[in-house]
């Protein structure tokens, strides 16, 4: 064991695990410190005397939403590490109705939108958008993008999903109107997280999304706009319908 590493006895699994002080652990600690600090401050605020009912209710909603974000991040990381453990470089794929998945994600994140004074818009599409992917991983990628867009978009703006077909792939984009990261920022976020180093404050999610996309033989990318960005995931389109 190296200096600084430590071991944890997991009584449920009946084994001892060595925890190395790796960049992944540092990245996770850094990423979780922000929501945990906010939850703590919101709780302290809510515990003050003299708050109105509205202030109290708003604080509780924000505590819930911030906790949800942190739990999602931990869940995604747990998924990444469980996949690494089992050496699943790729995952079993199946046809996924991407349009309906976008609706599901928008529905799931609606409370977060309301709490942030944002709207979320899903595209009305003609015909099926069926991809070959892993539904759960794709859902996590889209939630990740939309969650970030909701959190960092300008006030009262709209977060928009988009769907398109390109070179045998289906591309799902999430457009925000937030600050524009430079190419080097994005590159640094993706390259350094989650597996190789310390990310920017919102970089871990992008790294996880890229990892999940690769597991589905897909890829991620981003497009800069004058007033925001689109983050997208591109995965193979299903050929099933064309065979009918």
């Amino acid at each position: 064991m190296k200096r600084g590493d430590f071991s944890v006895n997991d009584s449920r699994l009946g084994r001892s695990t060595e925890i190395g002080l790796t960049p992944e652990v540092a990245a996770l600690a850094h990423e979780l410190k922000t929501p945990l600090s906010l939850i703590r401050q919101l709780a302290l605020f809510a515990n003050q005397d003299g708050l109105s009912e509205v202030q109290l209710q708003q604080s509780l909603e924000r505590i819930t939403a911030t906790t949800d974000r942190a739990v999602r991040l931990v869940g995604d990381l747990t998924k990444v590490f469980s996949m690494k453990d089992s050496e699943l470089v790729t995952v079993d794929t199946e046809p996924v109705n991407v349009a309906s998945l976008c609706e599901e994600v928008a529905h799931e994140l609606w409370p977060l939108c309301v709490a942030n004074d944002k709207q979320i818009e899903i595209p009305s599409v003609r015909g099926p958008f069926i991809a070959v992917g892993h539904r759960e991983l794709l859902r996590r990628v889209l939630i990740n993008y939309a969650d970030n867009a909701i959190k960092y978009s300008d006030d009262e703006s709209v977060v928009r999903f988009s769907l398109s077909r390109k070179s045998g792939n289906i591309r799902v984009g999430v457009r925000d109107s937030g600050p524009i990261l430079s190419r080097s920022d994005i590159s640094r976020s993706v390259k350094s997280a989650p597996l190789t180093g310390r990310p920017l404050s919102s970089g871990l999610g992008l790294g996880i999304a890229e990892y999940f996309a690769k597991c589905m033989q897909g890829e991620t990318g981003s497009i800069r706009h004058k007033d925001g960005m689109t983050f997208y995931v591109s995965i193979p389109s299903s050929e099933q319908l064309s065979l009918l």
């Binding site: 600090s37 906010l38 924000r62 942030n116 990261l181 919102s202």
Partner: protein, 125 residues
Amino acid sequence: MSIIKVLLLEDDRWQADLYESQLKSEGYQVQVASSPHDAVMMMDDFSPSVVIADVLLKGNTVFPFLHELASYEDTWNVPVILITTEAEMISGTNLTQYGVVRVLDKSTMGVDDIITATRRVLNEG
């Protein structure tokens, strides 16, 4: 008694709401900037007595903004309070050249700490 103006640079709206609410309840006049660019724009018109700023901002840090403040005759001496989850990482750094007089740790600070720090900074000034 004149109203004391506080410029708050914080990109997390919920965090900004908390600080703004606390500062306003103590009678301070507060303007919130969500980016260094907005903060620079506000400096001239608002002329704050103190700046309270987060360190890690969206796609940037606070330091280009602080450097900008330090570059101008009318802003170099505006005291700055940093408020950050990275307090332990920057606590040993010499930030006085940027006008930083206090560093508050978001992960341990109490509800009144921002008020106490602001008062002290203004009294010391």
